[in-house]
Amino acid sequence: MEPKQTIQITKEGMEVQWNGYITVPFIKEWLTNSNLWETQKGKKIILNLNGIERIDSSGIQFLMFLKKRSHSNQQILALTNHSLPVLKVLDLLGLVSFFGDRIKVKKEHANEVEFRYGTRKVS
């Protein structure tokens, strides 16, 4: 599915909605327009992931990269409304504590994720 980014500027920063696949083509395109996020230095970026239908290793690596980058830009990057494909990858790779965002699991998805590890911050 064609990736799509929708941006809404708010008081605190901006809310971004991603739809489609987070894979290499999407990331490449995003990087060419990354200045859209650059302007938000010191602000909060809420990244809504409910429209993500697929995320692969490059996609999760990209999210990790964004999280780290937001730290160096003094931005707060919060991932919200994780779709099931995103949740599954976070669960498998033990990355819940890495992102540190609140996770909501829909009732119908409860059996598909376990979060048995990687949920606790380890110094």
Partner: protein, 735 residues
């Protein structure tokens, strides 16, 4: 290294762990422990068992084995936590405490073993898994537990034994998979996640850590490159080949290393040399994914160090020798490893004798330097004088730091009273709450240790005779729950510790009547509370109508008094009917630095604790009254004494002028007449020798910069002594 030092370390560590265990159990008694609490208790028991096993303390190992099983099932939620288990675990803690200390001394009696067995029998109904016989050897027991610990998944029952000497890892049924896809895997159309996901079809991923160390800076990030790595703790019944086959399609485009069950710490060290990340980072990752436990992590670090330095590691030495003694001595070397210490905790344990030694040497250094400073001061060399001032400043800093080494917060020792109060409450059928305040107040370690018995006695007294039964309290309009309060604070160069209860209070009439009956006192009851309550410290004195097996108000208070006195402290009592009693212990800091006020009488020097000094005045005729005991200060009469009347001083006849130091003596003011006021002086209190133990009015001594000795005045006891002397004079005069 001397083996006894290693055993001491084991005792200290076990004591700390058991105290922590007890504190958690007491804290969570009404609310039930959470996962973190259960994990902490499990770790405590597990650590003790591990160390005891290495020393060959089989009674301890056998006992902890079952306790550990129970805790493991609790923390894994195999069985639910029930309130009765708190009681049982506290019993187990007490027995373990006994085992740890006694087994290091020699053999445990059969009676004690069967007592331990009775505790274990009580535990068995709660255990879901069958408990293996505790009479296994220590080595076997460790293997069983380690195996149990790491086989949380119920579908994994492969039996592979490990042994500690070989440093084989506890993860008996699990694989370690180190997976580092090449940077170009995305270009090859490969998705590492899909391979990892496939692992779930042939087993269980127990834990996984995504390595993100090589994610580049923003301007270097290329989405077509893979920068991630994975360390996977995986368990499966399948053989190594099947696990390897999962990665068939990506094998050529990654670094892949799979260790089958039974790998050792040495294997991990080998692996760490092949992986791009730093060894310590990898060790932490393996600890995080539970490939290494705390102990193995330390061995891992040590092994890395030994490979770098070429000095054989303890673990290597242990594995080479089967000789138990040899193993123990190697362990001691391991204990002394700074790497271990730096990772284990930010604090280190030091033998208190070494600290004493250091402080003594620093004290001598201070005196020598003061002499040197004086000599340099007499010379004209300004550079030398400047250098000497810098040395003195640094030395004073070192002195302050070294003195602080001995100070410990009293809170640690307050902690144990929670248990005493809890148990007494149950025994006496009273609902008692312990409140502690001023836990952070620091006191010399020696005093803290010696305070243990007197405080225990006072706390037991407060619970038993201080507090009423709940029904009685209700009748008196009080809260059903009684309170015992332990408070510590600094006051005027002393540490004050108060043991208070909100019970009935002490009946003065009853105490005096008893004193008269016993022939200790006679006549009408005096107005002074102090004089009446003093009777309580008389040997064999008790007002308790019923002496219980817990305590009797008065029974043993003489011992408390003696103990406090031997610490050069004092004890006083305050009590209000139906509101409670307060036992106030006033203790010197003994070995500490205090801000003092240096005075002189003739050639003798004295130091008055600065916190007690209110003001200094020239003792002029205007102040003097007809009385030789009081002087007038701004319209108030204040009692005073002359130091030269109480201490043999070479009085300076050329010193016509007298000065008076106004001090705070409890709530009142008093004056000490001296000749010279020499100003503020920071001083080290040196405890008085045993010969001078009974000398009143002096709390210690200090060596001045010029090598002279100055006595530190203990103001309250000096005035107490004065009152006694005056009373004696008064009565002898009447007689």
């Amino acid at each position: 290294m001397d083996l006894s030092e290693v055993i001491d370390a084991y005792l200290v560590e076990s004591d700390e762990l058991l105290r922590e265990m007890e504190a958690i159990l007491l804290r969570t008694e009404s609310s039930l422990p959470n996962d973190e609490d259960l994990n902490a208790i499990f770790r405590a028991v597990h650590t003790i068992k591990g160390t005891a096993g290495m020393f060959g303390y089989e009674s301890t190992v056998s006992f902890t084995h079952v306790v550990e099983n129970l805790l493991d099932e609790l923390r894994s939620h195999v069985i639910p936590f029930k309130p009765i288990l708190t009681e049982l675990l506290l019993k187990a803690k007490d027995h373990l405490s006994f085992l740890v200390s006694e087994e290091t001394k020699g053999k445990i009696t059969n009676e004690k073993i069967s007592f331990g067995q009775s505790i274990l029998d009580e535990m068995k109904p709660f255990l879901q898994s069958s408990v293996s016989s505790p009479k296994t050897t220590s080595k076997e027991t460790i293997n069983q537990t380690d195996q149990h610990k790491h086989s949380n998944s119920s579908d994994l029952q492969n039996e592979v034994t490990t042994n500690l000497e070989g440093n084989k890892l506890a993860a008996t049924t699990s694989y370690l998979i180190s997976f580092r896809p090449n940077q170009n895997v995305f270009a090859q159309g490969l998705d590492p996640i899909s391979f990892i996901g496939y692992l779930k079809k042939i087993g269980t991923i127990l834990s996984l850590k995504t390595i993100d160390q090589f994610l580049p800076d923003p301007n270097e990030f290329d989405p077509e490159n893979c920068y991630l790595g994975f360390e996977i703790h995986f368990s499966s019944k399948e053989n190594l080949e099947t696990v390897q086959n999962v990665f068939n399609f990506i094998e050529a485009d990654c670094f892949l290393h799979i260790y089958p069950p039974g790998f050792t710490v040495e294997d991990l060290v080998d692996l760490s040399n092949q992986l791009p990340e730093e060894e310590i980072y990898l060790g932490n990752v393996w600890k995080e994914i539970q490939i290494l436990d705390d102990h193995q992590f330390l061995i891992y670090l040590e092994e890395i160090k030994s490979r770098k330095t070429g000095i054989p590691s303890t673990s290597a030495l242990v594995s080479q020798g089967n000789n138990k003694e040899e193993s123990e001595s190697k362990l001691s070397h391991h204990n002394a490893d700074p790497i271990k210490d730096s990772h284990k905790s930010s604090t280190i344990k030091v033998d208190s004798k070494r600290i004493d030694n250091l402080i003594n040497r620093v004290g001598e250094l201070v005196v020598s330097c003061a002499n040197m400073n004086q000599l340099i001061g007499e010379s004209d060399d300004s550079n030398l004088q400047e250098s000497s001032l810098i040395v003195m400043r640094l030395l004073n800093e070192v002195r302050e730091i070294s003195l602080k080494l001995r100070m410990v917060p009293i809170g640690e020792s307050f902690q144990k009273y929670s248990r005493i109060v809890r148990d007494l409450g149950k025994e006496l059928k009273k609902d008692i709450r312990l409140i502690t305040e001023g836990d952070e107040t620091e006191l010399d370690r020696n005093i803290v240790e010696k305070l243990s018995d007197p405080l225990t006695h006072l706390v037991r007294n407060a619970c038993d005779h201080g507090l009423e039964l709940p029904e009685e309290r209700k009748k008196n309009g009080k809260d059903y729950q009684g309170t015992v309060k332990l408070t510590a604070y600094h006051e005027a160069g002393n540490v004050i510790i108060e043991v208070a209860d909100d019970g009935n209070g002490i009946s003065k009439e009853k105490v005096w009547k008893k004193g008269v009956e016993k022939g200790i006192v006679s006549g009408e009851m005096p107005d002074s509370d102090e004089e009446v309550y003093k009777l309580l410290f008389h040997p064999g004195f008790s007002t308790a109508s019923q002496i219980t097996n817990v305590s009797g108000r008065g029974v043993g208070l003489d011992v408390v008094y003696k103990n406090i006195e031997s610490l050069r402290g004092s004890i006083s009592i305050k009590s209000i009917p139906n509101q409670g009693s307060r036992f106030i212990l006033r203790l010197p800091l003994t070995l500490a630095i205090i801000e003092g006020f240096l005075v002189a009488v003739g050639k003798s020097h004295f130091i008055i604790p600065m916190e007690m000094v209110l003001e200094c005045l020239h003792f002029s005729d205007d102040h003097k009254t007809d009385s030789n005991q009081f002087f007038a200060l701004r319209g108030n009469l204040i009692p005073f004494l002359r130091l030269r009347d109480y201490y043999p001083c070479d009085v300076d006849s050329d010193q016509p002028r007298e000065n008076i130091v106004i001090v705070r003596n409890g709530d009142k003011k008093a004056g000490i007449v001296v000749e010279k006021l020499l100003g503020e002086y920071q001083t080290v209190i040196k405890p008085m020798g045993s010969v001078f133990r009974h000398v009143k009015g002096v709390s210690g001594s200090s060596i001045l910069g010029d090598g002279n000795v100055a006595l530190i005045i203990d103001v309250p006891s000096l005035f107490e002594r004065t009152i006694t002397v005056e009373n004696q004079k008064f009565y002898s005069h009447r007689g």
